[in-house]
């Protein structure tokens, strides 16, 4: 399989990344190697094997539905790049 720089750009766009031409070129070559290596899994017959997505052995419990303080608005906003003291501010959307 050969991954083109254009194909990398398309996937990068899905991931909200904007890569310059040099990086697209470099990533394309590296992805070729890495994906080819990943495809070695194809040699293994996994018919009927149930996928294992997490090693958790217990049922994930529900916690009690009780109100408790977590954090304040000021704490939440403290790390934001732009706020008006009440909301996160982003470039105009509509």
């Amino acid at each position: 399989m050969t991954i083109s720089p254009d194909a990398v750009a398309k996937v990068a766009k899905l991931a909200k990344l904007r890569l310059d031409d040099a990086k697209l070129e470099r990533f394309a070559g590296q992805m070729d190697d890495i994906l080819a290596y990943m495809e070695t899994l194809g040699a293994l017959d996994t018919t009927g094997v149930e996928p294992l997505y997490s090693p958790v052995g217990h049922a994930t419990p529900l916690r009690a539905d009780t109100a408790a303080p977590t954090c304040t608005r000021d704490q939440i906003l403290a790390n934001a790049p732009a706020t008006d003291g009440q909301f996160f501010i982003v470039p105009k959307i509509v």
């Binding site: 990398v8 996937v11 990068a12 899905l14 991931a15 909200k16 990344l17 904007r18 890569l19 990086k23 990533f27 590296q30 992805m31 190697d33 890495i34 994906l35 290596y37 990943m38 495809e39 070695t40 899994l41 194809g42 293994l44 996994t46 094997v49 149930e50 996928p51 294992l52 997505y53 997490s54 090693p55 958790v56 052995g57 217990h58 994930t60 419990p61 916690r63 954090c71 704490q75 939440i76 403290a78 790390n79 934001a80 790049p81 732009a82 996160f88 982003v90 470039p91 959307i93």
Partner: protein
Amino acid sequence: MSDITALTLTEVRDKLARKEIKAAEAVAACLARIEGTEPALKAILHLDAEAALAAAKALDDAGPVAGQRLWGVPVLVKDAICVKDAPTTCGSKILQNFTPFYDAVCIEKLKAAGAIILGKTNMDEFAMGSSTENSAYAITANPWDTAKVPGGSSGGSAAAVAADQCFAALGTDTGGSIRQPAAFCGTVGIKPTYGRVSRYGLVAYGSSLDQIGPLTRTADDAAAVLSVIAGHDPRDSTSAPREVPDFEAALAGAVDLAGLTIGLPDEYWGEGVDDEVRQACAAAVDTAKSLGATVVPVSLPHTPYAVATYYIVAMAEASSNLARFDGVRYGYRAPEAQTLEELYELSRSTGFGPEVQRRIVIGTYVLSAGYYDAYYRKAAQVRRLIRQDFLTAFEKCDVICGPTSPFAAFPIGQMTDDPLQMYLSDIFTISLNLAGLPGLSMPVGLGQTSGMPIGMQLFGPAFDEAAILRTAKVLGAALPPLPRPAGI
């Protein structure tokens, strides 16, 4: 005073509890050691000497409290873990100005046990790497040879512990990021069972793989820290609702390995392992036999598929987890962005380093429509087979043993241009994370060729950290101790 830093954690803790030394003295000794070694090492990203000294003074004023198991003990914390009011960058420019307003649960527990947080250690950006060269801030040196890497991604924590900057450091292990740097720097490092330690307050990388654990100079020290940070936490749904044994008590009085069966997987002892690594590990296994252990061959037949499986799963989970860094709520925001789309794209493209971007792109690819089944679902199927290998092997033995890394620490810069080569070097550590089991790396000597520390791993069944800690303690006591690192 500088002699204090050469003590083990349990030694200094006992002296503190008996008031033979003050917490302020322990902190001052670590700060002096940090000042002397840090210019060459660059293990620490944020040091808060003032806060550490203030915490020590408060402890000294109140006096030791029975039951506070780490009273007055100075520790460092990998920068992936939130410490209240301390910068938490995760080794990334995108979190350059991020200061959490809360402690991770493991930090709450350390503080409640009386430990003193000195600062935060360097790491590969978002824990993605095996050398700490992917940090956006500094390249940490190996205390045994400053031209070599300390391993990664918890390279700062390993280097700091090896250089006696602190008595223990927390690391995180998604695919070997505690055990491999522990091996490269000659320390003990344990990745607990998935679910043993709460990840609440840990910056997520691969959520089905990540675990927090200690790097220390001895197995007893690791047991002391693990006893404090382990335990069920309702804020992390993957945290296991089960009792935590007193690991330190479980190790007390262990003097031999009689009755222990050690499994040696063929796949970990064959081709691709440097001679000096195989030699040092084989000698340690011989020592284990002389201590009464029985050694049996076992097989982990799906090992050749582990690297491909691991990187598909880890990159897929990373691409999803790292979607949260959007320049809106926290982290870097590109000032030139005019639209929301630009804000996302420019903030992420400037804020993330190249390895992180590469993993996000590949992770997005393997999860995308048309490729999901061929890559991600297939990897999840192989993951079950890898886990089954371990369960089958543990029917024949109590612990499994093999090298931590195929080679000792390598020169800085050697592998930075070849990501696949770097991924392949993780072959012996990643299966354990896929299986969710506990594993520990311990130093077993210096390589005959390189003169660098060699690490050996012990794997245990789920939630049997005590078995691998006990084995490491007895074996460690029988092996010749490593000298102090030669490079600093």
